[in-house]
């Protein structure tokens, strides 16, 4: 029985090849570029193979413009802080994580860049009709979290980009890459941040971003790239422009092991929908999911009406060894949108390794804890 339902924090288990690839790296060594002996060439080749595979997940032919960072938080900080703002106005989705919210707040305090929320429905879905009638001519940047890490809602990126036109569009794909299709070129996504340790099933400490036009953003990290070393300025070309310093090559090997061995989804969509339906039927529980199952990913949350979130979470573990995340999930803006702030919610997030019987078991555990607390 797989009792781990906190895959939106970090996925577990990982494909066994993640460890094998990391081990290979630790035994073989080598850095990225900077020399020409075979050990370096092999390591560099693996880094580039990973970059190439990631470009397929992102849906872009611009492989050089896929950049490695430590995680999506560092990627989003580079994109948000390095962007040059003309009007000092940003629009964001109503379901943003603090990886976006906090850099934005910093930009507000330090540079007077203001941000506002895009028009949306009560589940946080961006309202396209209202978006169409919005005046957008003085907006510098639009940022949208592709899949919410709280209610699992999938935003319609293609339709949003069609409406906002030329305005640079940043997508936070932390929860979506590896789980929900992304077609950056076809949809016209300008920038996209991702992390390796969630839906892509890689190790922690490796993530990155895609940037269609690198001129839009100034790098955040300056240092050695093994290229143009005679000059004190960073090279302008990608990926070197954004990859100063030795990257997490061990993490990249692990991620490559994951990308080459992505687990096929084991549970059925019917079992998942049944789980959602049964929880919805429980009394005194507010369910955080999208209004339409079409926009629903494998993450959802519940907020029990008269019970502390922390108590519910604790009992799930103490009695049933179910691992989930209670609280605000680093997303106060999302919980404000969903009217669950500041109490927060208990979040459940699946992995492709879960089976129908794992989902059935989860349901029985939720019902059990709910009943125990109701009868108190």
């Amino acid at each position: 029985m797989n009792l781990y339902f906190d895959n939106a924090s970090t996925s577990f288990p990982k494909p066994q090849e993640v460890g094998e690839f990391i081990n290979t790296y630790l035994n073989q060594g080598g850095t990225y570029g900077r020399a020409a002996y075979p050990r370096v060439f092999e390591a560099s080749k693996m880094v580039e193979e990973t970059r190439f595979m990631l470009s397929k997940y992102i849906g872009t032919s611009l492989v050089d413009n896929v950049i490695f960072t430590f995680n999506s938080t560092s990627a989003l900080n580079t994109l948000i802080q390095g962007f040059s703002y003309k009007y000092k106005k940003i629009l964001i989705s109503p379901l943003e994580h603090n990886a976006v919210g906090r850099p934005l707040e910093f930009m507000k305090v330090s540079q007077g860049v203001n941000y506002q929320t895009l028009p949306h429905d009560d589940d946080g879905l961006i309202n396209l009709d209202k978006l169409k009638s919005l005046k957008l001519n003085d907006i510098d940047l639009i940022i949208v979290n592709h899949v919410s890490n709280v209610n699992g809602l999938i935003q319609p990126l293609k339709d949003i980009k069609r409406i906002i036109g030329e305005i640079p569009f940043i997508v936070d794909a932390s929860q979506s890459l590896g789980k929900v299709p992304v077609l950056a070129d076809e949809w016209g996504i300008d920038m996209l941040a991702f992390t390796g340790h969630k839906g892509l099933n890689g190790p922690t400490g490796i993530g990155g971003f895609f940037i269609r036009n690198p001129k839009l953003v100034e790098p955040m990290i300056y240092g050695g790239t093994g290229s143009n070393s005679e000059k004190l300025v960073l090279p302008k070309f990608c990926p070197d422009r954004f990859e100063a310093g030795t990257q997490n090559i061990m993490g990249i090997y692990g991620l490559l092991g994951a990308l080459k061995n992505q687990p096929k989804i084991k549970y059925t969509i019917d079992a998942y929908y049944l789980l959602l339906q049964r929880i919805k039927e429980l009394s005194d529980i507010k369910m955080l999911i999208s209004n339409s199952l079409e926009n629903q990913s494998d993450v959802f949350s519940i907020q029990p009406n008269n019970v502390e979130v922390s108590l519910f979470t604790k009992l799930l573990y103490d009695i049933h060894k179910i691992e989930v995340r209670g609280g605000l999930q680093c997303s106060p803006l999302t919980h404000i949108t969903l009217d669950t702030f500041p109490k927060g919610a208990i979040r459940f997030s699946l992995s492709n390794f879960h089976t129908d019987s794992d989902l059935n078991h989860l349901l029985s555990c939720i019902i059990d804890i709910h009943e125990r607390l109701q009868s108190k």
Binding site: Y32, G33, R34, A35, A36, P38, V40, F41, S44, K45, V47, E48, R51, V63, D64, T225, G226, S227, N228, S229, E230, P235, F237, C238, P239, D240
Partner: protein, 77 residues
């Protein structure tokens, strides 16, 4: 047809490791004789890698690299 003598060897120097790896794959697929070598210091103070190929394949390699817009410089050695 080309200025490249078939009996000489040449090195191709790139701007980034990304381009070296991409080009190596292409040259390997073509079945050309090549070697990864350090960039000679009279060409660049950079201690990175470049690709050495023989005079028989250099002209075709150059065309292939131009086809996919990989910026490079070729030097006889």
């Amino acid at each position: 047809m080309s200025d490249y003598s078939p009996n000489s060897r040449f090195i191709i120097v790139f701007i980034s490791i990304h381009d070296v790896i991409k080009s190596e794959r292409l040259i390997k697929e073509k079945g050309f004789d090549y070697q990864i070598v350090p960039v000679p210091s009279n060409i660049s103070s950079e201690c990175g890698m470049c690709i050495e190929v023989d005079g028989k394949s250099i002209a075709e390699t150059k065309i292939e690299l131009e086809n996919i817009n990989i910026f490079h410089n070729i030097y006889p050695i």
